[in-house]
């Protein structure tokens, strides 16, 4: 038996009931959803490449994966040090790293005053995006890749740092490097608003859950916001019923089917459905908790560390 109080158990049961009401299983069966979706956009079956075909397509160029990671020392938001790191990694062994460290303990922290936690969090994301956009631009300029795969949707990079995004887009178009974003989750609402407005709490992910067959793409012209100059699709790349989101540049739309094939070929059929190359980059760039504490121990003098960063909770007796 779980060691939880009666009161807590009751609350959890209540939540479960409410969830059932808001997300009923029978609300929309898969055929129904599929029919409605096909009225809106198109389904498209993708076949994976053989390794040789992938090689031929890539030619003598390289493929870049871009990802970033941020982590902070534990403690109150005002008493932390945050570590930012971004990596662009090419399949031919190229690597470009960028990093930053920020702390609200110093005056010019992200250019904000104390106490603006929400904006701060947003800004942290923006800082990381900026680093990722920079390494991506560097990669395009120096290694002339065939394709650059960003972890996360391109739209969110555009929102986070419009200026650097425009720079990257221009670089990609100039060098004819296919720029795509691969998102693990589809958190938009546009599809739901269009075909299932009766479920206001749903996201597009809930609508697409289990609807796509493996290797299938759903394309809807108007999915991306107007003026974004982006296309956006959902694709089920693995056995998991949850599709991933892929977006890319409208200007490079004619390569879209090859992009699907590339993504599908590189994705393990079990697992989270993301191309393995992005997993590899993620694994390498990830700033883990032990890594943060090791770095802090190594580079911050013990007295300062103890004074500013030590947590009382670490000294708990039980």
């Amino acid at each position: 038996m779980l060691p939880i109080s009666k009161e807590l158990k009751e609350k959890l049961r209540e939540i479960n009931r409410s969830l059932r009401e808001v997300y009923p299983t029978q609300a929309m069966n898969r055929q129904q959803a599929r029919r409605k979706l096909s009225e809106l956009g198109t389904f498209y079956a993708v076949e994976a490449w053989s390794p040789e075909e992938a090689k031929e397509w890539l030619g003598d160029r390289t493929m870049i994966g871009v990802d970033g990671s941020v982590n902070s020392t534990p403690g109150s938001p005002l008493r932390t040090i945050s570590v930012f790191q971004a990596l662009a990694k090419g399949t031919k062994g190229e690597e470009k790293w960028m990093a930053d460290v920020q702390t609200p303990l110093l005056p010019n922290f992200l250019g904000f005053q104390e106490g603006q936690a929400a904006r701060e969090a947003q800004e942290r994301g923006a800082l990381l995006s900026a680093l990722e956009l920079q390494v991506a631009s560097y990669a395009i300029e120096h290694w002339k890749p065939r394709v650059v795969m960003m972890d996360g949707s391109l739209l969110h990079f555009m929102i986070d740092d419009h200026e650097k995004w425009n720079q990257l887009m221009r670089d990609a178009e100039r060098e004819n490097a296919l720029l795509i974003g691969v998102a693990e989750e589809i958190n938009t609402h546009r599809l739901v608003q269009e075909i299932a407005p009766e479920f206001p709490t749903w996201t597009d992910r809930d609508l697409l859950y289990g609807v796509l067959k493996q290797g299938e793409v759903f394309i809807w012209e108007d999915w991306s916001p107007a003026g974004s100059q982006l296309w956006k699709v959902a694709m089920r790349t693995a056995s998991s019923p949850i599709p991933i989101g892929i977006d890319g540049l409208k200007s490079q739309e004619d390569a879209i089917s090859m992009i699907f094939q590339l993504v599908y070929s590189l994705t393990p059929k079990q697992g989270r459905g993301i191309p393995y190359w992005l997993d590899i980059v993620d694994h390498q760039v990830r700033v883990t908790n032990p890594l943060v504490s090791t770095m802090i121990e190594e580079y911050i003098d013990p007295d300062i560390r103890h004074h500013l960063l030590m947590l009382k909770r670490n000294d708990r007796m039980i």
Partner: protein
Amino acid sequence: MQVVGVTTQQEVHIVSRERKFRINEILVIEDEILDDPKGEVVETMAYNRLIPMGFDRSIVDAQVIDTLEKMGYDIEADEINIAKVRLFEEAPFPISTGSSVRLPNFAEVRHLLVQTTPEQGMLLGEIRGTESLYDTLTSDLQQQVLMMEQGEYRQQRGVPFLFDIKKMQQYPHVGIFGGSGSGKSFGLRVMLEELMKLRIPTIVFDPHFEMDFRDTVPESEKQASKVKDRSVVVQVGREVGISFSDLSTRDVTDLLGAAGHLSESMVNVIQTLHKRRDSYASFSDRINNLVQALEEGKAGLERQLRQDELTPVEVNRIQDLLKLLQQYGTLPAASVKGIHWRLNRLEQAGLFQQDIREIERGLEQGKLVVVQGSTWVLQVFTTYVIGALYRKRREFKDAQTNGEEGEFFPPFVTVTDEAHNFAPKGFDSPAKSILKEIAQEGRKYGVFLFLATQRPTLLDETITAQLNTKFVFRTVRGTDIATLREETDLTQEEGKRLPYLRSGDAFVSSAIIGRTVFIRIRAAHTQSPHISNPFDELIQATQHQDEKVLRYLKKQFPIFETDFTQVIGTLQKEFSLSWDVKRLKQELDRLASDGQIRKKETPFAVRYDMNE
């Protein structure tokens, strides 16, 4: 290569992305404060973080990995190699983590690996894990050994393993342990070749008839010249034997005891009947006569004496028997008969027809003397011959110490396979006491033991403890591994490796070297005489006979059952095959079912004919 993780004074972990570590290789850790300590790799691991293992993780499709590889990604670049390194000498404080690590050059580690020269030491093989040192090896150590790996010859690739036999003065005796197929006998052969090369007088007891060094291997012709004509093979009962008149009463007791267990009363019989300087004839006559006298009895003999028509010779004989009876009549007849039987057994093995001159001569000439014989005969003979030789050597040395001019007898090495039969733990055997004495005192006189066995657990502990150098080949039995770990400085990791060693690989745990070294025994210059497989032999013999018979039958075909008697007659006469009708029919049916001839059955007769 870099030191990572928690370090201790004895052990560190080292990682490398580029280099795969080899077990037992030597590495230099660049920690200036500790004066660049050196250590040996005792455990290796490799890990690829992109191909994880775990029941809670999904598996990455081979296809995806393959595609990435085709796209230029070298997945092995993400492999991480990890080695556990044990320092040769304990450091005063732990090595600093992060120290970089490099491969040594030979000059830096020579003192750890090589104690003597190829001319003066026993060149037994190659030290495993020293491949990276070959390029910096000094020329006197290059191309010294020819190696054999998975049935193929190859040149030396690492540092040769040299056993400094001169150091046996301080750390005497060698043990060779390993199960069947572990390369133990082979290792023993290589050691004997080296003893011959150094012209060290050696006596080998060979119950398996496999220690013959005349058949050299063409690949090592040059080296083989160093063993040519340096060995003598003798067989007990043919070239060598026991000179009975040299035996003391105790020797005789031991000898007869080796032929069969002696009761107290039998020992008493020997002590009563054996006289100093007895020849075999005089001793056995005495026993024969006593047996006869005891059978006839006093009354019986006196009755015979009263008979008429006795020749003077017969009278003499009966009187002699009576005298014997008077002297020894109190001895129990059963015990005397027991001694009689045991003495006959030794005699029939030819033990008393020769002496050990041949062996002594061989040793004096610095040769290797191989003594062959069946196991029980060798047990008896070993006891006698080692005792005799050891005594000779001791007498010379003692005389020398006393300032007297004794007759020179050389120091020598005694080699025995299946040593647990000669010196078993827990109970007595004739050879045990002399082996024990040599184990404990031999080095004073320059007499050394090389004992090989597959059952170290069964070998006498006092002797095992005196073996200062131990070669440990593959061993599977748990109790033996435990014994070996107790008796050597093998670590737990090394103990775990024992059941998986390749044939010819061995750990050498030696007080002479001061640590355990992992080696591979070199290819032998000579080969054992009987290497034909008994199953091949079986097939050959059958084929040979079939061909013979078929050749004859061809002339006789077709053969009906009525011809059998005539065929049998010819087979008997020309090929001395004594087959009866039933056997002939069986053989013909077999040849027919093998498809070599044709069998045709009609209602009237059975007919055998040639194949078309």
